[in-house]
């Protein structure tokens, strides 16, 4: 118990340091760094949506970029027509959520790959639609907007102000999502992910919770689209690209499935790795990014969020030999019961390996 308390206070301090860094960083950084930080906040929200559907509820979603693009287009249209920004933000949340819910109402009876295929279809259909309705979207040339300039009283530069705006949006989204996944709904998600039949037996409707998860993910995708427009000030059909969806899924797993901290790490990965690859050799970015992705998966198959546990695990293995390695998994107390989906997988994977 004492250990637990100590851990909690360590976490508190870490959280406080993290918050101070978040607030102070843009004041001392270049516009380029701020742009990266702001992009991390943008994609963290989109990734949070992916994580709620995939990580927490266990459903494959390969269409998040469609909601990101939809949100960005709604924002661009609203800004161009001079609507109040708060209304625009609300629309960016509500409309994609409604679209996501409609799709999910039809599709959530499916599972696995059939469901995945329907989500793949969203960006595939969305891109030509975006080109077709050019009055609304600006067509293939995209929509350029200029808004969210730093107000005079703030004394901030535009890049700093925009960073704070998207940071606030991200923080609110994360706090709400954290409460959601740690509460009753989160437990229901976990049961649906574990076994739909069991969920039914327990009186949890898998269909309803899948629709809910998709709706929340679409909502977060739309909000991320609003943030995207704030930061980039431009959107085009490229925003909807299917490959963005794929990369988001990769970043979600790299960060850590069913983990809030992992979502943030995944967003950092999503934004920073291409920059790193460019720094190494701009003509070889694909090769370098692919190698980094595989390397992380090999070292930390359960994502960057598992790094502390992995380090502990490895050091335990070193000092205690083979028998010690399994010890950390068998502590079903406070910290780990907060994230139930994490428990059952490791033993299963181990069994499988022994079987071969």
């Amino acid at each position: 118990m004492e250990k637990l308390l100590a851990r909690r206070s360590v976490r508190l301090v870490a959280l406080a340091v993290f918050a101070v860094v978040l607030v102070v960083a843009p004041l001392v950084s270049s516009p380029f760094i701020n742009y990266q930080l702001a992009l991390i906040a943008v994609f963290a929200v989109a990734l949070l949506g992916v994580n709620i559907v995939m990580g927490y509820t266990g459903q494959v979603s390969l269409g998040q970029s469609a909601f990101l693009g939809l949100g960005a287009y709604i924002a661009a249209y609203g800004v161009k027509n001079g609507w109040p920004l708060l209304l625009v933000l609300v629309l960016c949340a509500v409309l994609p959520a409604a679209v996501g819910m409609l799709v999910a109402l039809a599709a959530a009876r499916l599972r696995g790959l059939a469901l995945a295929m329907i989500t793949i279809a969203l960006p595939i259909i969305g891109i030509p639609l975006a080109r077709r309705f050019s009055d609304f979207t600006g067509g293939s040339g995209g929509a350029t907007v200029s808004f969210m300039k730093a107000p005079d009283w703030s004394g901030l530069a535009n890049d700093q102000w925009r960073y704070y705006v998207v940071l606030v949006i991200a923080v609110v989204a994360f706090l709400l999502a954290r409460n959601l996944v740690r509460g009753r709904v989160g437990r229901a998600f976990a049961i649906v992910k574990e076994n739909e039949a069991v969920a039914l037996a327990m009186g949890v409707s898998p269909y309803r919770y899948k629709v809910l998860a998709f709706t929340i993910a679409s909502l977060l995708g739309g909000v991320a689209g609003f943030s995207y427009l704030v930061v980039v000030q431009f959107t085009s059909p490229e925003t909807l690209s299917f490959f963005t969806s794929i990369n988001l899924v990769a970043a979600m797993v790299i960060g850590g499935s069913a983990s809030i901290a992992g979502t943030i790490l995944g967003a950092i990965y999503f934004v920073v790795v291409p920059v790193l690859a460019g720094a190494v050799n701009s003509a070889r970015t694909a090769l370098i990014s692919g190698a980094i992705l595989l390397a992380v998966l090999f070292l930390l198959p359960r994502g960057l969020a598992s790094l502390p546990r992995r380090v502990r695990q490895l050091s335990a293995r070193k000092s205690h030999g083979r028998t010690g390695a399994t010890a950390p998994h068998n502590s079903p107390d406070g910290a780990s019961s907060a994230a139930p989906p994490e428990i059952p997988e490791i033993p299963a994977a181990n069994e499988e390996r022994q079987a071969r």
Partner: protein
């Protein structure tokens, strides 16, 4: 009427491109229960081997055989070295590993050959057959014939050979397969090797039309995935039929529905697919999966 038939025939020819890759996806899924996003990138790499050989003066048929051999080894090796580590665990992680392979292999191909598309020789001459005013090019005809042969061969492999049955058993339940004495590790490698070989075949068949470049099959992969899933994922026949279906529906919508036009026609088969999957989640030819509790 003649125009209608022409539009349908063109659709089948387009579908053949997706179908070839879809077969490879089905094979991997049958052998390992996974979806392999790197299937296209592996195929492209093997096709580049054939490309380099033909450029060095090797006859196409020999170059193609070399590409098969290369693809088989590459597939088996990637299964053993990379994918094996993630099998049996969370399937999401295994799928993301194949996404990593997709990016990495594309990068390697590009490092050697650049991103610009290069012409690639074909087994079949240019030109067309003209049947009552409907045109079909020799290349499309050849692709379709080879595709059907491959499809039948796969069907026979899974239904009637020991190897095929053993592979299916391993995909279904690796643990019991191991207990009953099947060489699970080797079977998994063979499954990936064969799928990669099939991918190489697909690559060599479509490269004359698409031109060889690292991203040659990126877009085709999406269609191929759709065909594989729509067809039922465990059925070679289903994958090929679904691929042809996608090609035909897309073409018909573009040709006959003015509102749809050339830009939105891609949306039609996907919309139809959504409806079909909602009615028949197991796909057109798939068997219903019984969920164990």
């Amino acid at each position: 009427m003649q125009y209608f038939i022409q539009v349908v025939v063109d659709g089948v020819a387009t579908g053949a491109i997706y179908g070839a890759l879809a077969l490879a996806i089905v094979l991997v899924n049958r052998a390992t229960g996974l979806i392999n996003f790197a299937q296209g990138a592996m195929a492209v790499m093997a096709t580049f081997v054939a490309f380099a050989l033909t450029r060095a003066g090797v006859p196409l048929i020999a170059a193609a055989l070399a590409a098969f051999a290369f693809a088989f080894v590459l597939g088996a090796l990637l299964e053993r070295v990379v994918v094996r580590r993630f099998e049996g665990g969370d399937p999401d992680i295994a799928v993301v590993a194949t996404i990593g392979l997709l990016v990495l292999l594309t990068g390697i191909s590009a490092a050697f050959f650049g991103y610009e598309p290069h012409p690639f020789p074909s087994f079949f001459p240019l030109g067309t057959v003209n049947l009552f005013g409907v045109f079909l090019s020799f290349r499309s005809l050849g692709t379709i014939v080879i595709l059907v042969v491959a499809m039948v061969a796969l069907q026979v492999l899974f239904r009637s050979t020991k190897l095929g049955l053993a592979m299916r058993a391993v995909a279904d339940n690796p643990r019991s397969s191991a207990l009953s004495g099947l060489p699970v590790s080797r079977l998994l490698m063979i499954g990936w090797g064969l799928a990669a070989g099939l991918g190489a075949l697909a690559g060599i068949l479509v490269a004359p039309q698409l031109f060889i470049s690292p991203g040659m099959l990126d877009f085709a992969l999406v269609y191929a995935l759709a065909a594989a899933i729509l067809g039922g994922l465990d059925s070679p026949v289903g994958a090929v039929v679904a691929a042809a279906f996608i090609g035909v529906v897309e073409n018909l919508a573009g040709a006959y529905i003015d509102v749809i036009g050339d830009d939105l026609k891609i949306a039609v088969p996907f919309a139809v697919m959504i409806v079909i999957l909602i009615v028949r989640p197991q796909g057109l030819f798939g068997r219903k999966v019984v969920v164990r509790v």
